[in-house]
């Protein structure tokens, strides 16, 4: 994964956090499914790419100063057509200009809007005692409220991944409670193992959120990702 390391080292050299599109790139290089997306810097470009990706789309602000995009209006969901896109694109930039005037905007990420389904969180953290560790939980914006998460120390295997899933109080939701179609546990297992590999391989990654990861009966998609990097001290 030399390409990932280049992305990470560049950001570290420039003393800035990883950008949303970079986090997504790293995920993709580790076979973690994310929505189709493109980085654009103008309305016509956005229209072109959105048509290519297919509506509805999501717009996300790309700025090294904005880590928590939603908190400052940096994400616009469910943009249904060209006309809406033109309006929302300008609105996004205006909103950021007003709320984060000092933020340098490097562009906008146009992303396929994924259909709603059960949301989980997949996380990675470099723990002081145990080193790189993997988290799985019932997720989305209410992940902290549910506080239904389990951890395993990386590297993990299929058996660990299965325990991570079944340790949750809410694991029945994934197995198809109340007539819901069961989630694709195989794909969840894969994403957990891929995140484990990612944490093992890139020592500069200190924390990682894939939240939410939307799980379907066939496949999963990490619709938002955040990767926190830190210069390594030669530890774990």
């Amino acid at each position: 994964m030399k390409d990932c390391e280049i992305i990470i080292q560049n950001a570290l050299k420039e003393g800035r956090p990883l950008l949303v599109n970079e986090a997504q790139q790293i995920c993709n290089l580790h076979h973690i499914p994310t929505p189709r997306s493109a980085k654009v810097s103008s309305v016509p470009e956005a229209v072109l790419k959105a048509n290519d990706i297919g509506f509805p789309v999501v717009l996300k602000i790309i700025s090294p100063q904005i880590l928590h995009k939603s908190d400052v209006g940096g994400v616009i969901l469910n943009v249904r057509d060209e006309k809406e896109l033109e309006v929302q694109y300008e609105k996004l930039l205006a909103e950021i200009g007003e709320r984060e005037p000092s933020a340098i905007v490097l562009g906008v990420l146009v992303e396929k809007m994924m259909p709603a389904s059960t949301e989980v969180i997949v996380g990675g953290i470099r723990d002081r005692q145990f080193g790189p560790s993997i988290m799985f939980g019932i997720g989305g914006i209410f992940a902290e409220v549910y506080d239904d998460v389990a951890f395993r120390v990386a590297p993990i295997d299929k058996i660990d991944a299965s325990h991570l899933i079944h340790d949750l109080r809410g694991s029945k939701i994934l197995e198809g409670a109340r007539g819901k179609t069961p989630a694709d546990l195989n794909s969840i297992t894969k994403i957990l193992i891929n995140v484990s590999d990612l944490m093992m391989e890139h020592k500069a990654i200190n924390q990682l959120d894939l939240n939410p990861v939307i799980v379907y009966s066939d496949g999963v998609c990490a619709v938002d990702s955040r990767i926190i990097i830190e210069p390594t001290d030669g530890g774990f």
Binding site: I125, D127, Q129, S133, Q207
Partner: protein, 465 residues
């Protein structure tokens, strides 16, 4: 990395041995002199001639013998020079009992660093400081500075016990002795300047006298090494861990959802599960689980639990607990049901939980236990026997242990009561049948047995995969 001198020293020096009977150095020396300890014990004290009628040596270098072990019980500021003596004398292992180190702040921390600098590159291994050291009932090494009339020593048995806290460890030892629980080795590791839980697990995994390991820790210094050795241990011996000390949840900067959700307790829980260790939440659980895991065989497969009782209420509570923990009751085979129906009185309904009712005598227990134990759908037997009725005599113990021996299925007893019950509990314990005072604790212990079985299944699957 040889820890043998801590447990089987041929010779031991007690630095700081004292004539004053209440001083730690006196109690420890007395332990070695008055027990069946086979090696030589040398008291070291520059200001005394004799202790307990034995010649005292002013310093280690005056001892006319090689020394395997030194027990150091002198004030903290003098410990570094005692360590120097150990190094000069080529002592293999030292237990530093003295407190006044890291636990008291910066000054103590500096003393620890001083010791570390001195011992770097040497072969001297150190347990402590700030600990009560080692108790080994097989070799009679006993560095506990608590007199035996205050702290009874447990008999020899299959359970090893590592405790980071000395006070906790000694209280538990005293209690274990009162419960007739047998200990293979007890080690209080204190500030872990050198020997830590990782080293001890590495040693105990190969200790033939230990078949089950219990650990009380507040912090694990080498997390990944611990995970590795714990996984190795659990391949052959059950490992039960009680993690004390809540580390602040906000240990990770909350730059992410994961960071804000990652409490250290949660990561510990995950890591221990991964290692196949059984986690205890309370002191009761630590030894509740240890006794069943040390004494009883594992269920051969994940078949159900049979409950045999002479008290309906306890049977019902046990069944509730079984379902609460997601375990399952056995479905008796038609043949078992038929045999039960034929032999049991009409008012005893043959289903699981099997209520033998209040007038059940030993013969009825014997018949019921043999019948359900022989049922292939039964994996584990919980025997509830309330001994307050006059129908039951003490040979119910034989009925229980005999059916266990015949069918080789894990058998756990639940009983509560006064002197008569306690006598039978001790008889059961002698026969390695663990007994518990409440249905909840009994079923929890069964759950630990099943968890360990599942952990072994995981390992087996990993081996294949």
């Amino acid at each position: 990395m040889d820890l043998e001198p801590f447990f089987k020293p041929r010779s031991v020096a007690i630095i700081g041995a004292s004539r004053e009977p209440r001083k730690f150095g006196h109690v420890i020396f007395k332990n070695f002199v008055e027990s069946e300890f086979k090696g030589k014990a040398y008291p070291i004290n520059p200001k005394a001639e004799t202790i307990l009628g034995l010649k005292v040596y002013p310093s280690l270098k005056d001892v006319p013998d090689e020394l395997d072990l030194a027990v150091i019980a002198v004030p903290a500021p003098i410990v570094p020079s005692a360590i120097d003596e150990c190094l000069a004398k080529n002592v293999k292992a030292a237990v530093v009992i003295s407190g006044g180190f890291r636990e008291v702040g910066e000054k103590g921390e500096k003393l620890e660093l001083e010791i570390k600098e001195r011992t770097a590159g040497s072969n001297l291994r150190i347990i402590g400081p700030n600990c009560i050291g080692v108790y080994d009932p097989a070799s009679h090494v006993d560095t506990l500075f608590l007199p035996t009339y205050r702290l009874r020593r447990p008999k020899a048995g299959p359970i090893a016990f590592i405790s980071q806290s000395g006070a906790f460890g000694s209280a538990v030892l005293d209690w274990a002795a009162s419960q007739d629980i047998g200990i293979s080795k007890f080690i209080s590791i204190g500030n872990k300047i050198d020997v830590d839980e990782v080293d001890l697990l590495n040693y105990l995994v190969n200790d033939p006298l230990t078949s089950c390991i219990t650990v009380y820790v507040e912090s694990i210094g080498r997390g990944r090494e611990f995970l590795k050795v714990a996984s190795k241990v659990t391949e052959s011996k059950p490992l039960i861990v009680l993690k004390g000390g809540i580390t602040p949840e906000g240990a990770h900067a909350a730059l992410s959802h994961t960071g804000s959700l990652a409490g250290s307790a949660k990561i510990y829980r995950g890591a221990l599960e991964q290692a196949g260790a059984i986690q205890a939440q309370t002191v009761d659980e630590l030894f509740d689980y240890a006794r069943v895991l040390a004494y009883q065989p594992l269920p051969k497969d994940q078949k159900g639990i049979a409950i045999v009782t002479n008290g309906g209420g306890f049977g019902v509570i046990s069944a509730d607990e079984v379902s609460k923990l997601g375990l399952k009751l056995a479905n008796f085979s038609p043949e078992t049901l038929k045999r039960l129906q034929e032999k049991l009185p009409d008012y005893a309904i043959p289903h699981n939980p099997l209520d033998l009712v209040g007038d059940a005598d030993v013969e009825r227990y014997r018949f019921a236990l043999n019948t359900v134990s022989s049922d292939p759908s039964v994996g584990i037997i919980l025997v509830i026997v309330l001994l307050q009725t006059s129908y039951i005599e003490s040979d119910v113990v034989d009925a229980i242990t005999e059916s266990q021996a015949t069918y080789g299925k894990p058998t756990i007893v639940c009983t509560i009561g006064g002197d008569f019950t306690q006598m039978l509990v001790k008889m059961l314990e002698e026969d390695h049948t663990p007994s518990y005072v409440t249905p909840e604790r009994a079923v929890n212990a069964i759950n630990a047995l099943i968890k360990y079985r599942k952990a072994l299944e995981d390992k087996e699957q990993r081996g294949i995969g």
